[in-house]
Amino acid sequence: MDWELLRTSFWPMVSGAVTGTIPLSIVSFLFGLALALVVALMRISGQPVLSGIARFYVSVIRGTPLLVQLFVIFYGLPSIGLTIDPWPSAIIAFSLNVAGYAAEILRSAILSVPKGQWEAGHTIGMSRTVTLRRVILPQAARVSVPPLSNTFISLVKDTSLASVILVTELFREAQQIAAFSQQFMLVYLEAAAIYWVICLVLSSGQSALEKRLDRYVAH
């Protein structure tokens, strides 16, 4: 076992995670979540055009590979005169992708809040928007924490695809070290181990969060 290679390759990969994988995941997730809320609300708006657009969006995102989505944005758009740098390309692609999945999660979470909660908001004089913000979304948020955490953990692993559009993150560091050292097995297993540790940390964060939120769940 080449301990020296393990040691010298560890820090570049961790730095790839800290400056690439993690910020890319967080930024894309936040943008994706914001867009997902819009899509989910369009979907349940009851207006045929809005909900049709939302349904189409979700269908396209979930029906096409993430890698293809990345390629369309980074390699495809320049041919119609729209060139976007690797980082913004990756953020756009991952955000759009997350939104497609998270929208369905948020939609069903919102619909899972009992109708009586809307009515209770209305009877104390709240508009639909205020009821949504003050009454429905806080409860929907609780329901959607477990599935959204899973989406986030998947996203962290999926960001490795950004290496193919030249974003420097954990896996691209690994590829470069592997190519240089020719120790593919060792380097890629090391990369896998780092992803695994990140996801373990996230999973334990997820259980802690769920435990906290469980205290106030409606019966």
Partner: protein, 254 residues
Amino acid sequence: MSPTDPLLTATSLRKSFGDNEVLKSIDLRIDAGQVVALVGPSGSGKTTVLRCLNGLETPDGGTVAFRGGPSVEFGGKVGKKEALSLRDRSAMVFQNYNLFPHMTVLENIIEGPVRVQRKSRKDAVENAERLLARVGLAAKRDDHPFNLSGGQQQRVGIVRALALQPDLLLFDEPTSALDPELVGEVLTVIKELAEEKWTMAIVTHELAFAREVADEVVFMDGGVVVEHGHPDQVLRDPREERTRRFVQRLLNPF
């Protein structure tokens, strides 16, 4: 309108859900300070009447008018907005309480006064604490609803409605979801409100309670008002055969 007019006048209310005509031209008047009990078999439309008064349902036709406004004529092009304006005058207490589970008891109560009526938080909290003390729940102000018994939750539901200082309180079967031994504590609170001359419309199956607190009983069946009048008359000596059968059935279920 003059001060002697009823607080609320509903005229020719109609409402269908699909092919099911739930309300067939309902007339209802409620005077200020009056307690009106709506009774009748399930499916008779009494809950729907209540929900129409609060803008939770939009009637297909008819008018709902409060003394001093709003006065809303339904049918044709009545917007949701006009139906919603009815909520400024009334507040609903629900069968299943519908408290906000993510808020404490106190937060449930001050949400409307602070967020909707734009009262100062300090005043709203003081008022909420006073009302909670009145229903014997002062110690529960920082609890979450799921830590409360059904009877306690419903008392909070009543306080949440009272805190809005509505002109008309609407109760939709307020004790139907409760265990029998918890019904009394909720009815006691409602009785006290009646003694304080709150104007209330109550949908209930508790006929003994209706006879005790109501000034007027409205018996509904099949989407129409079959008869209405003083509780002693409607519940003890009904004029209509349908009322008689209903009262008999509730008094002697077996």
